[in-house]
Symmetry: D2
Subunit: 403 residues, 4 copies
């Protein structure tokens, strides 16, 4: 048992942190100012320049197991935390969802042609992508509710339906939609094989981005969640991932690393919030003494530190399991971090907001935006309740077997 | 002891609810749509038309003790709750902060001339107003930190300084700023008489609205919190409220009813959230059954009902005390609702958001916006912590005396 | 709407409080000392003497609507709170469960002969009684699980089965058991009429008190919860309450006032805990200042005051409803206090324990014992979860009807 | 980074678990029965026999770094967890506080003679010991409050004062008290060197165990907390640990491993509670379905699993730090587990109690007793609040330095 990161990780972490200090933090005030004015900044020149710098320094595609540094989940985790402290800087390092999950999906399940067409430019940062699973009219936490129809017609698939919370679709660089739908040709009483996943060019005829969805008033840059209408959209048969009726297999394989990222992003958001809180309470005085001297402040800082460190250890443990026994063996642990990390982050950020007064809710700090991110993560990719049910059932199964 | 509202209140409540059903709820979707697009709608024609309708029906200035219906705090409370269910509809009934508090302040402390100039058009809904107390560079929860300087120069006061979270200043109808500042001429070692409150026309030379502050990502219509710079702003001596050096007296007198409104607004937000939650969980199905049948759903609905009813009773009790023994005697009870109601509302709305999934965070429901309102109320007008300290000290005082 | 108690209540409250100050509080240390030594003191001479004093002063059977003062639920509530501050003093005023509920049941459903035989000596404090409903082998929160069999044999009922948590059975004065059982003669497929309630003399042949159950290590005086075995116990046909097969009707009728008492007992426990906490933190110093000056202390005192006052108002509102519209109309409100009051008391007492350090857990204060009482009330008479489910369903029903 | 225990630990863990299954769990019902009857069982023959068995199997003094297996903190941690599942079984393995801490103190700071006299028989399980630090009249969370006086008189120390919560003193095998007191000869204005720690034979003249303190209603076997009066108690000069005036140094050195044990005991208690909860909800049915199928049950099981795993990782991380950088470098992490583990255990056990109904509060399960143990650990060895303050200050120090 060893709680130290290896030397490779430590060295990369230092490089990422240095990059953050030199290039990212200095750019943050400008981004906050734009956020206060409500403007989207996804394709700004500043961001592009930072990307070029990161690429030049070899801090690129860090999330990708088959990338330059060949990092496993445990090794990428602290880097993911570091870059999440300024949330949008994940784009700078080409390590932002949904591209991360989409690239991993292509790597694991894509044909050579699919990789060439889509994975290569994604890894180069030339294009971005979106993931279309959630639907507006049904409770998506039960995946069997999916209604978007995928019908095989000769050499093509025909897509009809409506998605929303299609993350990334609003980015002007977005060229690819990975779409999960119901196989309209499958036997409705079949137990398996009823869903298909397709690679759909965003500019396909019949695709309309109906609107962008706000989260707590934010226009949700950089994710740009959209509502997307598919009307008789046609893609060639080769656009299928893994095979007709195998959509769930692909979806499942995608979950492991993605949730580690989810978790570490929350750790990063929370660490940043705690740092801002500490600095603030040391500076501000009320009734003749710094707020930092109040025991209620000390209690919250202490609880934040405990909660963050616990959550980080839980995520790292899940990452370690994922690296050693794989997605299936880490099922419970991966579900646990999906619940624990965002809830922890919401609480820590909320305390930091409170310590800042009005500045915590406006765009004078990134805190309110960070809260909205953490709050969304309690819903996105399945709400807390669905994951807690899974964990509970897995736990009970230990005693059913024995009994 | 009687927990029933009197007949006058019941009759008015029915009229307000009918008005809401007929005119306000039907207009809500349009407002949500605009909110999703980030647009301010404070001075929309729709709103103006609704105001005319409310005025015509005698549902106007309901908050005002000296208004048409002469309602005391207990009597206005349920009306305030009802209209807060669609938050902006308080404007429709001319019962929205900060105008409510400003009107009450003018009524209690204004000269006849001040009432004629400012209170009359405010009561008529012809103009709106702002209240400037909080400052960006100091912890405003300790009022002695106030730095904006008010200096007497001959027949005029000269104002220099910076305010923010100046609620209402962004409304194009806003014509009046009530400003609290430090008396630059007072002895700095004096215990009292160091603050002055002035009535300042918004178009006075030297006033600059530097920017509007967002709350989460909302541009905070209808309140329109602004950062305001005062540079050598001059007002005549008659613009003072109550008298030079008596600013705190005025500020204190303002607090009682305002906090009842704070409380009841939270009750209204929470009731609406619970209603939306109930309707949603009855409709949506996962894994073959409505979400409403899950015990975790039932637990949250039950806890919401308990929390809302407790908070409402606490607010009504404080209102009753305010009506019978006045602000001073109700000090602890009024502080208690300032803490209890917004925290309750945050929790209930958060559960409702969770029950809605993504729709709870976007503008497809008013929930995320309501959360931002309730969250702001944990900070505005003094953060939870300051009020809890006051309550704690008042409680301890009971035992110090005896001991 | 009026939050003041009437004059009759105020006068009685003053008398009860004076009695507590003069007679009960001075006796408390002796009771705590005995508790530390683990001894039962239910039938002590001290207690008997206090009862005689209370009876002489007309402070007797205060809970009883048809007693000397004819108090309704709202009027008894503050007296119940006052006497619960020293938990066992409810015995002093002959107002302790389960005698309270048993007397009310006899009054509502008993024949003249039953009243003469049992209610009269109970009201006189000459005997005490027990209530036998819960069973060890089934989840009693679902009443249909009840297994104890009641079979009609000629002019007698024959009882066989096992009960536990039979409150009061360990008191040496206990002479009567009110027993709820399954009607062995009823059609098992019938929807109603399957349960019967009997008045059973404790000294009936075939009754064995197998053991007494501890709660958190306390031998649970004064309640003395017992496990009771019934083997061919025979009672005459006249021992039935209301009639064969009507046991549930009786059980239901019993619930309203009992839960108001439940609630007010919790308020009393919590108020006492808060008082002890305040006194303690004013006295004790750490690191050069009284604990009372720490903001975390002030926060807990403030939250305690808020929670207690909210819970009291909720209980009084339910009592008012019970007095005005009856058990059926107050169903939701009565369930709400069953959940809210014990949970509130557990939290407030826990904070008070923490403020006392070791003294809070030992018998140097009544706090740990009070915690055990409040904690038991989250389970006794149905666990939180069952009541929350009921409340949730009643709330949802409002929207089902409309939809 | 590696989250797996090494092979030595895994092998020992299996042996401990087998021993528990074969010998300890079968003895548990008898212990619970005695607990229900309120009887102390510290020196029972059963316990003695189990100790002999454990010694024979080499499962003895497992906690001791210099023992047979030479386990460090990380290696002992899972064994400590396993044996804490049946709380008193720590005695079986001679690994129960306060003997553990006392042995470690003697090993680290004792002279050869002191080790021979006291450590040897403690390691052999021939005697037990107590630790006397807390005092009844002052807030012990501030150690400078200590009043017990230690005065040097020729070749002897003379002790006068009163201690309580002297853990272990009630055990009939207890022969040694380690006593911390104020150096009566020291300059009261000196900053250091004002406290002395002594080894005091329990049968010294002048020592009176005034009474035993209950925790909730438990007589606190096996710890047997006592209130102890010291009247002119005399020990020879050689009884001092480390040296006159160096008592705090000794006390500090004691803290590291002790708190790891604290933490792992809580993990053990919580794991056992979760197991009991799972088994119970699978068995019991209400309203036609096992309680295990309710989502509120699944949520609590899931949260319990998350909370336990997080706390365990936090304790193991602190243990790892202690093993690698020592007490001083692990100060914050050690304080963090002192807060996190008992609070976690209280919550998990509370849920398990609720799932058991009345059986959870009585001695039919060990749950209520376990709650009392976990609750005590939130106070013993310094209350939560003191540790949170330390953690908060250490966290803030990171930003003070930089700023």
């Amino acid at each position: 048992m060893d709680f130290q990161h290896n030397d490779k990780t430590k060295a990369l972490l230092e490089r990422v942190e240095n990059f953050m200090d030199e290039h990212v933090y200095p750019a943050e005030p400008e981004f906050l100012r734009r956020m206060n004015e409500g403007g989207p900044i996804g394709s700004s020149q500043v961001l592009h320049d930072l990307q070029e710098k990161a690429k030049a320094e070899g801090l690129w595609n860090l999330f990708f197991h088959h990338g330059l540094h060949e990092l496993n989940n445990v090794e990428f985790a602290p880097l993911c935390e570091a870059m999440s402290k300024v949330y949008w800087s994940q784009i700078v390092f080409n390590s932002m969802a949904p591209d991360t999950g989409n690239i991993e999906t292509l790597e694991a399940f894509g044909t050579e042609a699919q990789k060439e067409q889509w994975m290569k430019p994604l890894l180069a940062g030339e294009i971005s992508s979106a993931f279309a699973m959630t639907e507006p009219d049904v409770a998506s936490s039960d995946a069997t509710n999916i209604r978007l129809s995928i019908h095989r017609d000769g050499d093509e698939f025909v897509i009809n339906g409506r998605k929303w919370w299609t993350s990334g679709v609003a980015d002007p660089h977005c060229k690819l939609l990975i779409v999960l739908g119901r196989d309209a040709d499958a036997d409705p009483d079949a137990k398996h094989g009823k869903h298909t996943m397709l690679l759909v060019p965003k500019d396909s005829p019949g695709i309309t981005v109906v609107r962008e969805l706000s989260v707590f008033g934010y226009n949700e840059w950089p994710h740009g969640h959209g509502e997307v209408l598919f009307e008789d959209v046609r893609v060639p048969a080769e656009a299928v991932l893994l095979g007709k009726g195998r959509g769930f297999e692909v979806a499942q394989g995608r979950l492991g690393p993605g949730r580690i990222h989810y978790g570490m992003r929350c750790i990063g958001l929370a660490e940043r919030a705690l740092e801002l809180m500490c600095r603030r309470v040391l500076e501000r005085e009320t009734f003749g003494a710094p707020i930092a001297t109040r025991t209620v402040t000390l209690e919250r800082i202490a609880e934040s530190r405990i909660m963050i460190d616990q959550a980080r250890l839980l995520v790292l443990n899940a990452a370690h399991l994922l690296d050693t026994v794989g997605v299936k063996g880490a099922r419970k642990e991966v579900a646990m971090i999906k619940v624990a990390a965002p809830n922890m982050a919401c609480q820590v950020i909320d305390w930091a907001i409170q310590a800042h007064g009005g500045a915590g809710l406006s765009a004078d700090t990134p805190l309110a935006y960070y809260y909205s991110r953490a709050r969304l993560m309690r819903i996105g990719d399945g709400p807390d309740e669905v994951h807690r049910n899974s964990i509970g059932k897995l736990e009970l199964a230990r005693y059913k077997k024995k009994g």
